[in-house]
């Protein structure tokens, strides 16, 4: 087993693992959308012990975390979101999910200045809730009723990432401590809120996220322009404000 960053070439087998394990499935393009928007955030666990049978074999994916940054956060705070996380039944109890999550969280802070990470989990999924709450320290924010296509509720969970920011700051101070002035780093800190102006227009749909907005009545769904129209116009996101 090997834990490393996701590559485009992994995606068919990630999609395969997802289809085999979870009821929430996505088009290949939706995985690509993650891999090409936030390539630093998604990780895979790979079974490296199988010898390839042909030169064209791809490594078997036994676990993955598919993550993104919220493009237009409702609260205005930069944060990450876990789109999907899964580990093959045959590879459980090795702490793979936890390790995947930790790598992703680290990059959310380092690369995108994320303040927290959020996710949804089925209220009946005890193992996952245990991982998020007890192992990783997530807190339950609220319950979203009928979030999943089959009518099950979701816990909306959240983890503040200050502890990673704190670590990073210490590391940077240490590095800078070797002769540089510490003011510079502070100055850079404040620049964090500087905007990345990003002008773009829609370029068709980028897969879909059927787990979202799939509750019973069509009129409960609204179309929200995600990501400043960055080619994800057709994604249907649930209007969370209604439930908060």
């Amino acid at each position: 087993m090997d834990i490393r960053l996701l590559r485009s070439s992994d995606i068919p087998l990630i999609q395969h693992a997802n289809l085999e394990n979870l009821p929430e499935n996505y088009f290949l393009k939706y995985y690509l959308y993650h891999a090409l928007s936030w390539p630093q955030l998604s990780y895979v666990a790979v079974d490296v012990s199988r010898p390839p049978k042909t030169p064209y074999d791809y490594p078997k994916i036994v676990g993955y975390v598919l993550a993104k940054m919220e493009e237009e956060p409702a609260d205005g705070v930069q944060h990450g979101h876990i789109t999907s996380l899964s580990v093959m039944r045959t590879h459980r109890r090795l702490g793979i999910a936890e390790k995947l999550m930790r790598q992703s969280q680290q990059a959310m802070v380092e690369t995108f200045g994320g303040h927290y990470v959020s996710l949804h989990v089925r209220v009946s999924n005890k193992a996952a809730i245990h991982l998020y709450r007890d192992t990783l320290g997530f807190k339950t924010e609220k319950t979203e009723s009928k979030y999943y296509a089959d009518g099950e509720d979701a816990f909306c969970m959240k983890l503040e990432l200050d502890f990673i920011r704190e670590q990073l700051r210490e590391e940077q101070l240490e590095e800078a401590g070797e002769g540089a002035d510490k003011k510079k780093i502070k100055g850079e800190e404040t620049a964090e809120d500087g905007e990345n102006v990003d002008e773009g227009e829609a370029v068709g749909d980028v897969g879909r996220d059927p787990a979202k907005g799939s509750t019973a009545k069509a009129d409960q769904k609204i179309k929200v322009k995600v990501g400043r129209g960055l080619g994800v116009g057709e994604l249907i996101e649930k209007d969370e404000s209604k439930h908060s």
């Binding site: 087993m1 090997d2 834990i3 490393r4 960053l5 590559r7 485009s8 070439s9 068919p12 999609q15 289809l19 085999e20 394990n21 009821p23 499935n25 088009f27 290949l28 393009k29 690509l32 090409l36 928007s37 390539p39 630093q40 666990a45 079974d47 012990s49 199988r50 042909t54 030169p55 064209y56 074999d57 791809y58 093959m88 039944r89 045959t90 590879h91 459980r92 109890r93 090795l94 702490g95 390790k99 790598q103 990059a107 380092e110 995108f112 200045g113 009946s124 089959d150 964090e192 500087g194 990345n196 990003d198 002008e199 773009g200 370029v203 068709g204 980028v206 059927p210 799939s214 080619g231």
Partner: protein
């Protein structure tokens, strides 16, 4: 000649465009009709109308109208542009490029046409054309960094690394203000340039650039990994070791880091003690780390291996980790290890048997050890199926509701050739945890292996989205569930239903088409997002897309089915294969069942078609197709009746075969299939090419000499039809093939 409109109609024309852009198709059409009433031969309006018709799914009508518009007004760039868009939306990119080029000739300053053309060119991998387009776009707007990056990408993909670097540097020099640390586009552009320098093989300069320019880049992991790699490449071992240690502190589950660290430390491959010490250090530092404990088992030998393996197995069994065998079976290529591991597991069992009273949780360990041994004896390198059964039964006795144990029981049945029992056992495992899709998928797979397509689909339906129109199969197809489609197709093929088998293989073919088109939007998306390295990675992977084993398997299935159709021509349209040579009652029974299933499917198809026909597509209903929503195209042949009715199976096979030969030339199965198709089509040179490729891959493959003999025979029979020169060439080549 460009045609002019009155002011009123010119305004109306602008509304047509606006309505089209807002996807208000009905209003757009209305406005267009108004113009055409007064100016029936207005090319631009006709074109716009065609564009709207196309968006409404009326492709044929749209093309007809667009062509008429072009004949009326050849000099209108709008007409050519629309013609290009029609081709583009219908995925004929080559023709689209041609039309766009005409449009651009007539309107050289149109940014939109130029941009669309550029995207088409990179999609079709016309790199010289793409460079030209991006040059023009850069000259038009040099202030945009995107345009510089895009031109660099064009050169890079075309293989001109130096020019790519130059372009990026030119932009950098033109910027005076220091970019913000949080300027993501800048951060990524710097790393992109660094990756280009490294690709040229100049690690000295790459390291220099990385340390001077990329220290503050936001992708910290990339900076650390690149730096470590460059240091290692440059032989700066001490620094490289330090860099890899820093990486291991971030992620101690990445074997490459250990290997690189060991290299940098200069430890000899046979110095097991020193090697082990490196891993032990990280095992001690990270008590929850698996790699540091497991990887030493790869290089340790003798007593060292025994001790480390014992410690590892004990830890895994105590925790009840079910994946222990999966993580160790690669060691079985070493005989000593293959023999030692089960002994250690037995020892563990001895020590823990019956302890459950003293330690409440020890049944977990016992179960894990029994499970390990069950898998050990089920594995092809150490197979003893009666022993495997014994261990798994013991494990089940210990924990009767354990899904993993029952799953292995099913696998053992499969290896015994008891396919029906295997399917039953897997379904029993499924019933123990009906909320887990993994075991549900496995149960469906085993049902398919037992040719129970209908049952398998019902099993899959327990987890597909209930509201999908058309049921589980449509949902699985929409969600691109390749494994199911492949297994389902193979089962139909075994059952003799050629139509449905071909249908599944063609569906997989189409999914790969979609995957190839999926990159289209990213040519511009990625420029805006600025994640250039990830984009380059995508483009290179897409170039190899159809080399994927998922594709290979389905395509090979399709080719072999077409071959059998050629060899045993069918009478019926959806020909159920005639009973096999050993045609007994079972085969006849199967044939009957397949026929019945097909009849039912046809009936359902007819009913669905009637229902659809009654529905006004513009009024919505079950399949919502509101104005502005993309219309989902109806499947004209859901059961593959038309596919099976082909009169040219070998010709149809070519569509799949060419991909096999192009993208997986080193897979001998593809070459063997290629020979079979070509020899039947009397194409002796390509047949010879496949044979020679097979020979180079595996000269001892039994098929090689057999095919050589057949080719020789075929040549003898074809003396008259072959040019003497060709015959001579083939014969001299054949002389080098053994067995010929």
């Amino acid at each position: 000649m460009p045609q002019t409109l009155s002011t009123r109609e010119a305004n109306l024309f602008r509304t047509v465009i606006r309505h089209y852009e807002d996807k208000q198709y009905k209003r757009g059409l209305k406005a267009a009709e108004q113009i055409l009433k007064k100016n029936p031969k207005h090319g631009d309006t006709m074109s716009m109308k065609a564009l709207i018709l196309n968006a409404q799914g009326k492709t044929e009508e749209a093309f007809g109208l667009a062509k008429d518009a072009l004949t009326i007004d050849m000099k209108s760039y709008i007409c050519w542009h629309v013609y290009g868009i029609l081709y583009r939306t219908n995925k004929n990119f080559d023709e689209a490029i041609k039309a766009y080029k005409f449009a651009l000739k007539l309107e050289p300053d149109s940014h939109q046409i130029q941009r669309d053309l550029a995207v088409l060119q990179v999609q079709m991998r016309d790199y010289p054309g793409y460079i030209q387009s991006r040059l023009v776009m850069l000259k038009a707007r040099p202030q945009l960094r995107q345009n510089w990056t895009a031109l660099a990408i064009a050169y890079h993909l075309d293989g001109n690394l130096q020019q790519a670097e130059n372009i990026l540097s030119t932009y950098e020099k033109s910027v005076t203000a220091a970019p913000l640390r949080t300027d993501f586009e800048n951060s990524e552009a710097l790393l992109y340039k660094n990756s280009i320098i490294a690709e040229m093989g100049d690690f000295e300069r790459a390291l220099e650039h990385l340390e001077a320019e990329c220290k503050a880049c936001l992708d910290r992991l990339a900076v650390m990994e690149l730096r470590a790699r460059y240091l290692a490449e440059l032989g700066r071992k001490e620094d490289a070791a330090k860099a890899y240690r820093a990486l291991l502190d971030r992620n101690s589950e990445h074997p490459d880091y250990y290997k690189a660290l060991v290299d940098a430390l200069g430890i000899a491959a046979d110095d097991e003690t020193a090697l082990k010490a490196v891993y032990d250090e990280y095992a001690a530092k990270n008590p929850r780390c698996d790699a540091a404990k497991r990887l030493p088992l790869d290089f340790l030998s003798g007593d060292g291996f025994r001790a480390a393996a014992k410690a590892y197995l004990t830890l895994m069994f105590d925790k009840g980790v079910p994946s222990t065998f999966a993580n160790l079976k690669h060691l079985y290529s070493d005989n000593f290890k293959k023999e030692t591991l089960p002994i250690l597991a037995e020892e563990y069992l001895e020590e823990h048997r019956g302890n459950s009273s003293t330690n409440g949780d020890s049944s977990k360990g016992e179960g894990a050890a029994l499970y390990f041994l069950g898998q050990h004896y089920n594995y092809f390198m150490s197979r003893d199926l009666s022993k495997a059964t014994e261990y798994v039964e013991k494990a089940i006795e210990l924990d009767p509701k354990n899904v993993d144990f029952h799953m292995t029981k099913a696998r053992i049945f499969k290896h015994q050739g008891e396919i029906a029992k295997a399917a039953e056992a897997m379904d029993r495992a499924r019933s123990l945890d009906t909320r887990d899709r993994y075991i549900n998928s496995k149960a469906a797979k085993y049902q398919l292996r037992n040719d129970e397509n209908e049952k398998a689909l019902a099993t899959m339906g327990l987890f597909t989205r209930a509201e999908t129109v058309g049921g589980p199969l449509v949902d699985l197809t929409d969600m691109q569930c390749i494994w199911f489609l492949t297994e389902d197709g193979e089962a139909w093929q075994r059952r003799g239903d050629i139509g449905l088998a071909l249908k599944r293989y063609h569906t997989i073919f189409n999914i790969f088409d979609i995957w190839q088109e999926d990159q289209f939007d990213f040519h511009s998306f990625s420029l805006r997002k600025g994640q250039i390295r990830a984009y380059i990675d995508l483009v290179r992977w897409e170039d190899q897309l159809r080399g994927h084993p998922f594709y290979f398997r389905a395509a090979l299935d399709a080719v072999s089915l077409y071959l059998s159709m050629h060899d045993k021509p069918q009478n019926g349209a959806n020909g159920v294969e005639g009973s096999h040579t050993n045609g007994d009652d079972a085969a006849a029974e199967k044939k009957k069942a397949a026929k019945k299933a097909r009849k039912e499917a046809q009936k359902a198809e007819r009913e669905a078609a009637e229902k659809a026909a009654k529905q006004d597509p513009n009024k919505g209903g079950a399949q919502k197709s509101k104005d502005g929503e993309e219309v989902k195209k109806k499947d004209e042949d859901p059961n593959g009746v038309k596919l099976a009715a082909t009169t040219d199976p070998l010709g149809d096979a070519m569509k799949f075969l060419l991909h096999l030969l192009q993208f997986s030339p080193k897979n001998i199965e593809g070459q063997i299939a290629g020979f079979e198709v070509y020899i039947r089509r009397n194409k002796y040179l390509p047949a010879l090419r496949c044979l020679k490729a097979s020979l180079a891959l595996d000269k001892d493959h039994p098929k090689v000499s057999e095919q050589a003999t057949r080719l020789r025979k075929a040549l003898e029979g074809a003396v008259d039809s072959l040019a003497p020169k060709t015959k001579e060439v083939i014969e001299s080549e054949l002389a080098t093939v053994p067995g010929a």
